[in-house]
Symmetry: C2
């Protein structure tokens, strides 16, 4: 049994905790959160605390806290033989300031409290400061998913940056499309099938080959019609992405 303490009760901490409570290989022995009220619902299932000096002995301490809190909280975790992990995509392993074995377990996924998680489908990016830790970390990670990648700190930053493009920015484009539809009483649901098809396409062909539309076709008439329909910021987005698509295909064809 791998004994684990979870630190932090945000979206990721919540879902990891739920998964570990149902594991037969991992024994969740304690959950820490600065605000104890947020984890009181766990108190019948596992020990809870809001005091870093009261942490129990465990094999792994896993930080599910904001990026800014990693240095400060890890500096309290000084058990040389134990493994301290952070879960941040944007943070180097060197930001762990504990006098301990160090590692990172990063889930490139978007988590919401109100949506169940099937960890089997989620890739896991891991990194460790020593081979021994890596063995333990692999064993721990394989309890969540078999989709495990060895990714160093520099590569992890790349995964996180690319995830901003395909998740945060894509979602913002969905938001803008919904605004455009609402303005003229067009139901946004009309677009759900094309949204899904766009995603499914890139499982089969590269995004470079999958590109279609007026920008790629250099269809200036349609582009100008579209531009006349947009608000100021939408127009900036339309103009820049159209230019970028055109440059991509002029350059490469």
């Amino acid at each position: 049994m791998i004994k684990v303490v979870v630190l932090g009760a945000g979206n990721l901490g919540y879902h990891l905790t739920q998964k570990m409570l149902n594991s037969t290989t991992i024994k969740l022995i304690q959950v820490y959160n600065r605000n104890i009220h947020k984890i009181e619902y766990l108190k019948d299932k596992v020990e809870i605390t809001n005091n870093l000096n009261h942490l129990k002995q465990a094999d792994i301490y896993i930080l599910c806290v904001s990026d800014n809190a990693i240095q400060e909280i890890s500096s309290h975790l000084n058990s040389p033989t134990k493994l301290v992990l952070h879960t941040s995509g944007a943070t180097s392993i060197d930001n762990l300031k504990s006098n301990s074995e160090k590692g990172v377990i990063y889930f490139p996924q978007t988590f919401s409290i109100d949506k169940n998680v099937n960890f089997n489908n989620i890739p896991i990016c891991i990194e460790a400061s020593a081979d021994k830790s890596l063995t333990l970390l692999k064993k721990f990670a394989s309890e969540f998913s078999n989709n495990i990648y060895l990714i160093n700190s520099e590569q992890r930053k790349v995964v996180h940056l690319a995830a901003v493009f395909v998740n945060n920015f894509v979602n913002h484009l969905y938001y803008n499309a919904e605004q455009i539809c609402n303005e003229k009483n067009v139901p946004f649901e009309i677009l759900h099938p094309i949204i899904l098809e766009t995603v499914q396409k890139i499982d089969k062909i590269s995004p470079f080959k999958a590109q279609t539309g007026p920008a790629k076709r250099q269809d200036t008439k349609t582009i100008n019609t579209h531009k006349a329909m947009l608000t100021s910021t939408q127009l900036d987005i339309y103009t820049l992405l159209t230019k970028s698509i055109q440059e991509t295909y002029v350059k490469k064809l």
Copy 2:
């Protein structure tokens, strides 16, 4: 039986033709294309032609041609009692210059020759110049899908514009993310699960509520780290979309 002539053999024309050849309610009687070689594979199944003066009598003529060709080709279709349809998202019904009944059937979807289409899942936007034509058009459209919307020319332009955001622009963000990954030998497949989750989320919650990430969190440190990793055009895209997300949440919260 509704007798139909298809004009044009691009991606949409191809998939409509395949569907009609297997229909028991629609009788595809002829396919026209400017370049006859592109439709020769059909000649054992249906009459083909590249001469607009040789078109047969039909109930519906459906133009699957580029937006620029709609006026010119429709001007040759002068059968007052027949229905002439175009299939363009960006074009008004008034661009049909035939002396006939007029209508539009627009499929807000991205079609590729090498990917099969399940029309059942595709919404259909229809518009007609007269009630009688609308009845025939509804009957015709219902052979493809029951997901039919009455959408006028102004609304259809909105659907098309919004589709550019959620399809063309989203695909271009996928392309950029893939480039970012390739640069550092990170497999792009790591991002497929988060791409799919981003899409599935907006079936349940609005894109406004689904937004996450450093821009919304005003996480300036991560934003600056990301900016330092990008090429010039990627940096422009990152900066503009980050600004737009921040403005959206400052404005609305």
